[in-house]
C-alpha cells in the first residue's frame, strides 16, 4: 500500500477550501442583474385556491414579477414526476397525481408553493409576498398514514381513491402463511418507523440564468445528481432541450438523499429566469427546509416472525403502510418497495417471506429516500423481531442470530436479492469482544446500584448498495439505468483530471477517487483533480446516493484507467521502440520486459500529445479515455452494531454508554473517511431512535418545524464510538468495494431500541424514545407490576 493509494488514511484534499471558507456553494454564486425569488406557501395542509389577488403585491417597491400556478400552466411547464413505476398486486399501475411546481387548483400540504414574487432584493420579495391575497377554501386534512385509507378520510387526489397510491406485495403468501401455521413460536410486533427531516447543513438553493443570445439556461443547484436533474427538467418538465440546459451542482453541503430529487423550486427559478430575462436566485431558509425538503421513513408496520422448535426462523411476514406525503417525489415509490421488502431476510436464511405495502397520500411534505432509504426500515423490522423472539423464547439474542445466519454464498433470498459474500458470525464475534458483552451482567448490576436501568442491544444488519445493476432495476420499474460514467484526461505534463458522474456532497470523492488514480498510475495525489457536478464538463452521470459511488463510480474510473493504460502502452512502445506486448507498467514507469529500457509516466503522456514518435495513421494523438460501468449485482455491506445504554428511571433520560460497530465494507479505500461515514451514520440512526421525529397535528400542521422543537443528535448526546471492520471482498466489482455511507443509519435504530427495551423490560415503546416517552412507559410498567420494584 502506498502512502496515498487504496487503503491509506489520506487527509481530505477538499477540506482546505472548506475550512478556510473558500468553498463555492450555490448561494456563494451570484450573476449580474440577479433577482431574488420568494415562494409564497400555503399555511393550510389542504385548501382549494379560490382566487389570488396580486395587485397589491405587484405594486410593492422592487417587485419584478408575481407569478402563480396559472401562469405556469399557461406556459405549459410540465409537472414533476416520480421516475420509478410500481405496479399493484392487482396489476394496476401506481396512481401518480399531477404535481405542478406551483399549486394551481389546490394546496396539498403546509408549505406547498402557491405563488412566487421576484424582486430586486429578498426583503422586497418577502414584503411583497405578504401583500399577496390568496383566497383559500380550507379542506379537511389527513396527516396520519394509518388514517389516510379510512372511509371518510379527506381525498387528496381524485386519481387515487382512498388516498392509496399502490398496494404492492413481494414474496410467496401461501407458502409463508403455511410456514406460520406450522410454527413453534410466532413473534408479533407493531412498529412505527418515525418520519425524519433530513437537515443537511446547507439548505437547498437554486440560481437560474437565462441567456437570450443562445436561448439557453444554466442552473446552479444543490443536487446530488445534476445530470438526472437536467434530464427530468428537460424531458419531462419540458423547460428546455437537454443541450440548452446546463446544470451545475458546485460544492454541496450534505444531502443524505434529500438532494437527489427534482424539486419545484429549481423548476420555477428556471422558468422565472427566462420569463423576466434576469438571473433568479433562491436559497431555502431552515424553516422552508422543514416544510419542503423531502422527509424520510414514515412507515406503520405489523410484522411477524415464525420460529421452529430449535429457534430457526421459518418465515417472516409484514404489512406496511408507507406515507409518501402530498405528492410522489422523484424516487419515492421505490423506497418502501424494492429498497425495503427486498432486505427483509436480513442476515438470515429465511425460506418464506411475504410483504405487503400500501403507499398512501397524506397532507404532509413528500417523503422520499433518506440515508438508508428502505433498508433502515427493513433492518428495524427484522432486528426487532429477532431480538424480541429471543426474549420470548428465552434464548440469547446473539445465539439466535448465529443459528440463523446465512453461512454459504452466494445465497438467494426469497425476496429477489442474491447475497454474494459475507461472514456475519465474524463481525458479531468481533463486536461482542470489543463491547465486552461478557462483562455486561456486572455493569448492569453496578447501574442498578446507582438506580439506573442498563440495557444492551444488537443490530446485525445487511444492506444492498451500489445501486445499479441497470437491467435489474429496470425490470423492477426504474425509469433510468443506474450505471456510472468516468472519463480520465491525462494532460501533456502527466497530471490527470478525472471527470466522474458521481457527485460529492461530503463524501470526500476528491480524495478517495484521487487515491485510486494515484495508486494505479504511480503519480503524486496532488497531480490529480476530480471534476464532478457540471453537465457541461461531465458527459453524463447518475449521481451519488445509495452508497454507490465507490462500488459503481470508482469502478467506472478503473475501466477508464484500463483504457488509458492500454493507450499509454502503445505510446510507450513507439518511444521505446519495442513491441506493445512487451511493455509493462508499474509504479508510474513503463518498461520493456527483459531490458533496462524505461519511460516515465510523464514522458509517455507528453509523447502522446507531441506525437513525434508515431504517425496519425499508426496511433491517434492524445491520452483521454472514457468508460461506463454497469455492475452485475448489488453489493451487500453488513455488520454488527452493539449499543449499551443506561436509563435514569426518575427522568426517563437515556444515556448511551457504549457503541461498538464492526462493519464489513469489503475493501476500504480510506479508513479515516470510512470511519467518519460510520460516525455520521450512527449519529443519524441514534437521532431517529432517541430524538428525531416529526409531529403533525390533526390539521396537518408540522408542530416541530424548527430546531427549537425538532431535536437533532448532538455530539454530546453520543459516546465515543468503538469502530472496527471485518473484510470479505465484494466479488462483483474489481476493487472489492461494498459501500459504507448508510450503514450506521441502517444499523443504529434497532440497536438502540433493542437496548432500551432490554433495560425497560417491555417492548411497549416507539421511536423516538424521548425522556418523556420512556418515563411514560415506566409509569405503565410500574403500575402493571407493582411488586417488581
Amino acid at each position: 500500500m502506498s502512502a496515498t493509494g487504496i487503503g491509506a488514511a489520506v487527509r481530505r484534499k477538499e477540506d482546505f477550501r472548506f475550512i478556510t471558507g473558500k468553498g463555492q456553494y450555490t448561494d456563494d454564486i451570484s450573476r449580474p442583474g440577479q433577482t431574488y425569488i420568494h415562494f409564497v406557501r400555503s399555511p393550510h395542509a389542504h385548501a382549494k385556491i379560490r382566487k389570488i389577488d396580486n395587485a397589491a403585491a405587484k405594486a410593492m417597491p422592487g417587485v419584478v414579477a408575481v407569478l402563480t400556478g396559472a401562469d405556469l400552466a399557461n406556459d405549459k411547464i410540465g409537472n414533476l414526476i416520480c421516475g420509478w413505476a410500481i405496479t399493484s398486486k392487482d396489476g394496476t399501475p401506481m396512481k401518480m397525481s399531477a404535481h405542478p411546481a406551483i399549486a394551481n387548483v389546490k394546496a396539498c400540504h403546509v408549505g406547498d408553493a402557491v405563488a412566487v414574487v421576484i424582486a430586486e432584493t429578498l426583503g422586497q420579495a418577502k414584503d411583497a409576498g405578504e401583500k399577496l391575497v390568496v383566497d383559500y377554501e380550507v379542506l379537511p386534512a389527513v396527516a396520519d398514514p394509518a388514517k389516510a385509507q379510512a372511509a371518510g378520510a379527506p381525498l387528496i387526489h381524485d386519481v387515487a381513491p382512498n388516498n392509496t397510491i399502490y398496494q404492492w406485495h413481494l414474496g410467496d403468501q401461501k407458502a409463508t402463511d403455511a410456514a406460520f401455521k406450522a410454527a413453534n413460536h410466532v413473534t408479533k410486533l407493531d412498529i412505527i418507523n418515525n418520519r425524519l427531516v433530513p437537515n443537511a447543513i446547507e439548505p437547498r438553493a437554486a440560481l437560474a440564468d437565462y441567456d437570450s443570445g443562445t436561448d439557453s439556461l444554466t442552473l446552479w443547484n444543490t443536487s446530488q445528481n445534476p445530470h438526472v436533474a437536467r434530464l427530468v427538467i428537460a424531458a419531462f418538465v419540458g423547460m428546455a432541450p437537454e443541450h440548452k440546459l446546463r446544470v451545475i451542482a458546485p460544492d454541496v453541503g450534505g444531502g443524505f438523499g434529500s438532494k437527489i430529487f427534482i424539486y419545484p423550486e429549481e423548476v420555477v427559478c428556471l422558468w422565472a429566469a427566462r420569463k423576466v430575462n434576469r438571473p433568479v436566485k433562491w436559497n431555502s431558509d431552515r424553516s422552508e427546509a422543514f416544510l419542503t425538503d423531502a422527509h424520510g421513513r414514515d412507515h406503520v408496520t405489523h410484522a411477524e416472525m415464525a420460529f421452529d422448535a430449535e429457534g430457526k426462523i421459518t418465515a417472516l411476514r409484514a404489512k406496511t403502510i408507507a406515507n409518501l406525503g402530498a405528492y410522489m417525489s422523484t424516487f419515492s415509490s421505490s423506497v418502501p418497495t424494492y429498497l425495503y421488502a427486498t432486505l427483509l431476510s436480513g442476515q438470515y436464511g429465511i425460506a418464506n417471506i411475504y410483504c405487503e405495502v400500501d403507499a398512501v397520500y397524506t397532507n404532509t411534505v413528500p417523503v422520499d429516500a433518506y440515508r438508508g432509504a428502505g433498508r433502515p426500515e427493513a433492518t428495524f423490522v427484522v432486528e426487532r423481531l429477532v431480538e424480541v423472539g429471543a426474549r420470548e423464547m428465552s434464548m440469547d439474542p446473539a445465539d439466535l442470530r448465529k443459528k440463523n445466519f446465512v453461512k454459504s454464498f452466494p445465497h438467494q433470498t426469497p425476496v429477489i436479492m442474491a447475497y454474494d459474500a459475507g461472514d456475519y458470525a465474524a463481525s458479531l464475534k468481533k463486536a461482542q469482544e470489543i463491547a465486552d458483552v461478557k462483562g455486561f451482567g456486572k455493569r448492569k448490576r453496578d447501574s442498578a446500584r446507582n438506580g439506573k436501568l442498563r440495557g444492551l442491544g444488537y443490530s446485525t444488519y445487511i444492506e444492498a448498495c451500489g445501486i445499479a445493476p441497470s437491467q435489474a432495476v429496470g425490470s423492477l420499474g426504474a425509469g433510468v439505468g443506474l450505471w456510472e460514467s468516468a472519463e480520465v484526461r491525462v494532460n501533456p505534463t502527466g497530471s490527470v483530471e478525472v471527470l466522474t458522474g458521481s457527485h460529492s456532497h461530503g463524501q470526500g470523492h476528491e480524495t478517495t477517487f484521487a487515491q485510486l488514480v494515484a495508486g494505479r498510475l504511480g503519480i503524486p495525489i496532488e497531480n490529480i483533480s476530480i471534476v464532478h457536478g457540471d453537465t457541461d464538463k461531465v458527459q453524463f452521470g447518475m449521481g451519488t446516493y445509495g452508497s454507490r459511488s465507490g462500488a459503481v463510480g470508482m469502478t467506472a474510473i478503473v475501466k477508464a484507467l484500463d483504457k488509458v493504460e492500454a493507450k499509454a502502452k502503445k505510446v510507450a512502445a513507439f518511444m521505446l521502440e519495442a513491441a506493445e506486448g512487451d511493455i509493462e507498467f508499474k509504479d508510474g514507469k513503463f518498461t520493456v520486459a527483459g531490458t533496462d529500457k524505461a519511460a516515465a509516466w510523464g514522458d509517455v503522456a507528453l509523447n502522446a500529445y507531441i506525437a513525434h514518435k508515431f504517425t496519425g495513421a499508426e496511433l491517434e494523438p492524445g491520452l483521454k479515455e472514457g468508460a461506463f460501468y454497469d455492475p452485475t449485482n448489488f453489493t451487500f455491506p453488513a455488520g454488527c452494531h452493539i449499543c449499551e445504554l443506561e436509563i435514569d428511571p426518575e427522568t426517563g433520560n437515556t444515556e448511551i454508554m457504549g457503541w461498538t460497530a464492526v462493519d464489513d465494507f469489503g475493501v476500504i479505500i480510506n479508513p479515516m473517511i470510512v470511519e467518519g461515514q460510520v460516525h455520521g451514520g450512527i449519529a443519524q440512526g441514534v437521532g431517529q431512535a432517541l430524538f428525531e421525529g416529526t409531529v403533525y397535528d390533526k390539521d396537518g400542521q408540522l408542530v416541530n418545524g424548527s430546531y427549537m422543537d425538532y431535536a437533532m443528535p448532538r455530539a454530546d448526546y453520543l459516546p465515543s464510538f468503538k469502530i472496527d471492520t471485518t473484510e470479505t471482498r465484494c466479488p462483483s466489482n474489481p476493487l472489492g468495494i461494498k459501500g459504507c455511507g448508510e450503514a450506521g443509519a441502517i444499523a443504529a435504530p434497532a440497536a438502540v431500541m433493542n437496548a432500551i427495551t432490554d433495560a425497560l423490560g417491555t417492548e411497549d415503546i416507539a421511536m423516538p424514545a424521548t425522556p418523556a416517552a420512556v418515563w411514560r412507559t415506566l409509569q405503565k410498567v410500574n403500575t402493571s407490576r407493582p411488586a417488581a420494584a
Binding site: T651, G652, F691, M708, A711, Y717, W775
Partner: protein, 284 residues
C-alpha cells in the same frame, strides 16, 4: 427581517429618553432572542435601541458586601467563568454555563434574559431562587415582584435593567433537565438556603413562567436535604404541556430536579463567610 430604524445611544439617560419617545422601540442587548425573532418576521419593531455602546455603564461583576452585583450587559460566558461568582455563588456560574451554546453565551446578556422572561429561561430561576434584586433606571424590583408571567415583567416601556444583585446564599444548587431540541429548561430548579430563608424556584415547567414552590421550601426548612422532599410532588395543574412533555411529566420532574438541586447545593463548598451578618446590596 422587516426594516427598522437603528439607534445606538452612548449613555443610559439617552437610551431611556429614546425608549420614551420612539414608537415601537425595542432594546437590543445580546440579541439572542430578538434577532432570531426578527429574522423570522415574528417581531417587527420600528426602532431598535442598541445598548452595546453603553456597555461600560452596565458591565462588570462585583462583590458588594454580601451580594454579587452583575451589570445587565454582562454576557453569560463572563458569569460562567467569573472567579468571583465561582467562589461565592458557584450555582449561578454553573447555571450560566448551561445556557444555550458557546455562541449564545458569548452574546447573550443577563439583563436581556431577565427582561425577556422566557418561561424556559435559566436566569429567572436564579433570580427567584436567590431572592435577587433587579436594579433599573427607575429603581429596584425584588425578584418576587418582578416576574409577572410568560414574557411579562414589572418593567415599564422606557425602563432599562442596569444591574442584578444576587445575595450570597450559604447553599445553592441548580439542576436543569434540558429540552433536547432547544436546550432551554424543560424543567429547571434552583434551590438555596440563606440563613433561615429557603427558596425553591422552578423554570420551564409552569404554564405561567417561573414560580416558587412553598411546600418544598417549608419541607426544606426542617432540614435542607433531598430526603426532606421525598414523596413530595406538585400538582400537574398549571404545568405546561406540549410535545416535549405532559403536565404530569413536568410536575414529576419538578420533584426530581428539586431533590437533585438540593443535593448539588449540599455538595458544593459553602460560600466563604456567607452566613455572616451584612446588608444585602439592593435589598434595602
Amino acid at each position: 427581517m422587516y426594516n427598522f430604524s437603528f439607534h445606538r445611544p452612548t449613555g443610559l439617560r439617552q437610551a431611556s429618553n429614546m425608549l420614551g419617545k420612539l414608537e415601537e422601540a425595542k432594546i437590543l442587548a445580546g440579541g439572542q432572542t430578538l434577532i432570531p425573532t426578527m429574522k423570522l418576521r415574528l417581531a417587527s419593531p420600528g426602532n431598535i435601541v442598541d445598548l452595546n455602546a453603553i456597555e461600560a455603564e452596565m458591565a462588570g461583576i462585583e462583590l458588594k458586601g454580601r451580594s454579587i452585583v452583575i451589570g445587565a450587559m454582562t454576557r453569560h460566558a463572563e458569569v460562567a467563568n467569573s472567579a468571583v461568582v465561582k467562589e461565592h455563588l458557584p450555582a449561578l456560574a454553573y447555571l450560566a454555563s448551561l445556557i444555550g451554546d458557546p455562541a449564545v453565551r458569548h452574546r447573550g446578556t443577563i439583563g436581556g434574559s431577565i427582561a425577556n422572561n422566557d418561561p424556559n429561561a435559566d436566569y429567572p430561576a436564579a433570580c427567584l431562587g436567590l431572592g435577587a434584586t433587579v436594579i433599573t433606571t427607575k429603581g429596584k424590583h425584588a425578584a418576587d415582584d418582578f416576574f409577572k408571567g410568560m414574557f411579562e415583567t414589572a418593567l415599564e416601556g422606557d425602563e432599562i435593567i442596569t444591574k442584578v444583585s444576587f445575595p450570597i446564599a450559604k447553599k445553592a444548587g441548580y439542576e436543569k433537565f434540558k429540552n433536547q431540541a432547544s436546550r432551554f429548561a424543560l424543567v429547571g430548579v434552583f434551590a438555596s438556603k440563606r440563613g433561615s430563608e429557603i427558596r425553591v424556584a422552578v423554570t420551564g415547567a409552569g404554564a405561567n413562567g417561573v414560580f416558587r414552590v412553598p411546600s418544598f421550601e417549608e419541607a426544606l426548612k426542617k432540614r435542607f436535604a433531598p430526603k426532606s422532599l421525598e414523596g413530595l410532588t406538585i400538582p400537574a395543574d398549571g404545568m405546561n404541556s406540549d410535545i416535549h412533555g405532559s403536565a404530569e411529566y413536568r410536575a414529576h420532574l419538578v420533584g426530581v430536579m428539586a431533590r437533585r438541586a438540593v443535593t448539588r447545593a449540599n455538595e458544593a463548598p459553602e460560600a466563604p463567610g456567607s452566613e455572616a451578618e451584612g446588608t444585602d446590596v439592593g435589598n434595602g
